[in-house]
C-alpha cells in the first residue's frame, strides 16, 4: 500500500497515510472483538 500511496502523495504524507489506514483497520478488529476486560478476544460478527 505504501508503494501505491507514494505514487500519489509525497513520501512523508504516504508514510502518515499508511500508518493511519493500518491503525484504523486494527481499531476495527479491536472494536469487533473487545471483551469485558477491554482486550482483543471475543471476535463475533
Amino acid at each position: 500500500m505504501y508503494a501505491i500511496l507514494c505514487r500519489i502523495f509525497p513520501r512523508r504524507v504516504a508514510v502518515v497515510l499508511t500508518a493511519m489506514v493500518w491503525t484504523l483497520l486494527l481499531l476495527l478488529i479491536y472494536a469487533l472483538s473487545v471483551g469485558p476486560e477491554g482486550d482483543f478476544r471475543y471476535f463475533r460478527i
Binding site: W22, L26, I29, F40, R41
Partner: protein, 383 residues
C-alpha cells in the same frame, strides 16, 4: 500476558515511537529501558531474573573464552529454565502455587537467547559489539514474550544499520494487522468457535470422525494463534527497524516430517538443530539418539510434562523413521512421469499432515491418560 491485552499493544506502540524519537545514539538505551520499565510494572520477577541472567551471561562471555566456563553458563541457563518449568512435572517438588504465580514472562525465550549468545561466543562467531548492544538484544520488547528466538548477529547488524524506511514501516504495520486478524478472527472466532461448534454436532453420531476433525481444528488454531503472535512481534520489530527471522513457513504443506520442522517454529527447531543435535551427534556419533534428544528438548521447552515427553518421542521417532526411509529410498522404483511425481508429492503432504495432526492429541489433551483415551476414540475403539 499476551499481545491481545490492550496495555501490551500500547506499550509496543510507545516503544516503537520512542526508538525513532530519541537521537540514534540513545536508541539502545530507549529499547532496553522501555522493556525494563514494562517488566518492572507487569512482571518484576521476570525483570530481576532477566537482569541477573544477562549479567551472568555477559560476565562469562567477556571474561573467558574457555569452553568449560561457557558450558557452565549454558548449564546454568538451562537449569534456571528447568527449575521454573519443573512445577508441571513434579508439583510436589516445586509447589503449584510457585509454579503458577512466578513463571517469569518470556523466560523460555530469553534463556534460549542467552544460551545462543554463549554458544556463539564459544565458537568466536559473535560480531564486534558493546554491552549496550547485548542489553538491547536481551531487552527487545517485540520478541520478549512470544519469540521468535532471534539471533544476536542479525540483531546487532540491524542495530548499527537501521534507518527510517517508510516501506519497512508499512510492511511492519501490515504484518501487525495480519497477526491480530489471524489470532482474533481465524483463531479465536473461526477455529475455536465456529468450527468447534460444528464438530460438537458431529460428536454424537460419529465420535471417531469428530476426534479427527478436532485434531485438525486444534492444529489450525495453534498455527493461527502462534503464527499470529509471531506476525505481531515481527511487525513491531520491523516498525522499529529490525528484521526478525521468520518462525512459520506454510508448515501444513510439508512433504515429510523433517520438512515440517523446517517450517514450524523455525527459530526453535533451528536452535535445537545447532545447539542440541549437532553437539550430541558429534559427541556420541549416534544420530538417532541425537534426534531423540533434540526433539525431547524441543518438546520440554514448551512444557515439562509427560504429555510433552510423549509428543517429543513421537516426533523424534517420526524423524528417525523418515531418515531410515530416506536412506533406502533409492532402492524403490521412481514415481515415473510428472503425474506420478505430483501424486507422490500429494501423498507425502497428506501423510505428513496426518502424522502431525494426530500428534497434536498429546498437546490438545490435558494429560497422558486423556491423550490415550483420545487415541482410542480416534481409532473408533471407545464410545
Amino acid at each position: 500476558m499476551t499481545f491481545l491485552q490492550l496495555h501490551v499493544l500500547l506499550w509496543l506502540c510507545g516503544a516503537a515511537m520512542l526508538v525513532w524519537i530519541v537521537p540514534g545514539r540513545f536508541a539502545r538505551w530507549a529499547i532496553a529501558l522501555t522493556t525494563a520499565a514494562f517488566l518492572g510494572v507487569y512482571a518484576p520477577v521476570s525483570l530481576v531474573l532477566l537482569l541477573m541472567s544477562s549479567a551472568i551471561t555477559v560476565a562469562l562471555a567477556r571474561r573467558s573464552s574457555s569452553a568449560a566456563v561457557l558450558w557452565s553458563g549454558v548449564s546454568l541457563m538451562a537449569m534456571l529454565l528447568a527449575w521454573f518449568k519443573l512445577g508441571g512435572l513434579f508439583p510436589a517438588i516445586v509447589p503449584r502455587r510457585i509454579f503458577q504465580e512466578a513463571v517469569p514472562l518470556g523466560l523460555s525465550y530469553y534463556t534460549f537467547r542467552q544460551i545462543h549468545y554463549l554458544f556463539e561466543r564459544m565458537k568466536n562467531r559473535l560480531p564486534e559489539h558493546g554491552l549496550l548492544d547485548f542489553l538491547a538484544y536481551m531487552f527487545f520488547l517485540p520478541t520478549l514474550m512470544v519469540g521468535p528466538i532471534n539471533l544476536f548477529g542479525d540483531f546487532a547488524r540491524d542495530l548499527n544499520r537501521r534507518r527510517f524506511d517508510g516501506a519497512m514501516l508499512s510492511r511492519g504495520l501490515e504484518r501487525v494487522l495480519f497477526g491480530y486478524a489471524k489470532i482474533v478472527i481465524l483463531g479465536n472466532y473461526v477455529a475455536s468457535f465456529l468450527v468447534a461448534k460444528a464438530i460438537f454436532k458431529v460428536q454424537a453420531g460419529n465420535p471417531a470422525l469428530a476426534q479427527y476433525l478436532d485434531c485438525l481444528r486444534h492444529g489450525a488454531n495453534l498455527y493461527f494463534q502462534f503464527s499470529g503472535y509471531c506476525d505481531v512481534a515481527i511487525g513491531f520489530a520491523a516498525v522499529m527497524g529490525f528484521r526478525i527471522v521468520e518462525n512459520f513457513h506454510y508448515p501444513f504443506i510439508a512433504r515429510n516430517i523433517n520438512d515440517f520442522w523446517n517450517r514450524w517454529h523455525m527459530s526453535l527447531s533451528s536452535f535445537c538443530r545447532h545447539y542440541v543435535f549437532t553437539p550430541v551427534a558429534s559427541a556420541m556419533r549416534l544420530p538417532y539418539v541425537a534426534i531423540l534428544v533434540s526433539m525431547l528438548v524441543l518438546a520440554l521447552w514448551h512444557e515439562f510434562s509427560l504429555r510433552y515427553v510423549a509428543w517429543g518421542v513421537y516426533h523424534g521417532a517420526g524423524i528417525a523413521l523418515w531418515q531410515v526411509f530416506n536412506a533406502h529410498r533409492h532402492r524403490l522404483p521412481g514415481p515415473g512421469g510428472p503425474v506420478g511425481k505430483a501424486l507422490v508429492q500429494a501423498l507425502s503432504i497428506f501423510v505428513t499432515l496426518n502424522f502431525v495432526i494426530v500428534g497434536f492429541i498429546f498437546t490438545k489433551e490435558p494429560d497422558l491418560p486423556a491423550a490415550g483415551a483420545a487415541f482410542l476414540r480416534l481409532l473408533g475403539l471407545e464410545g
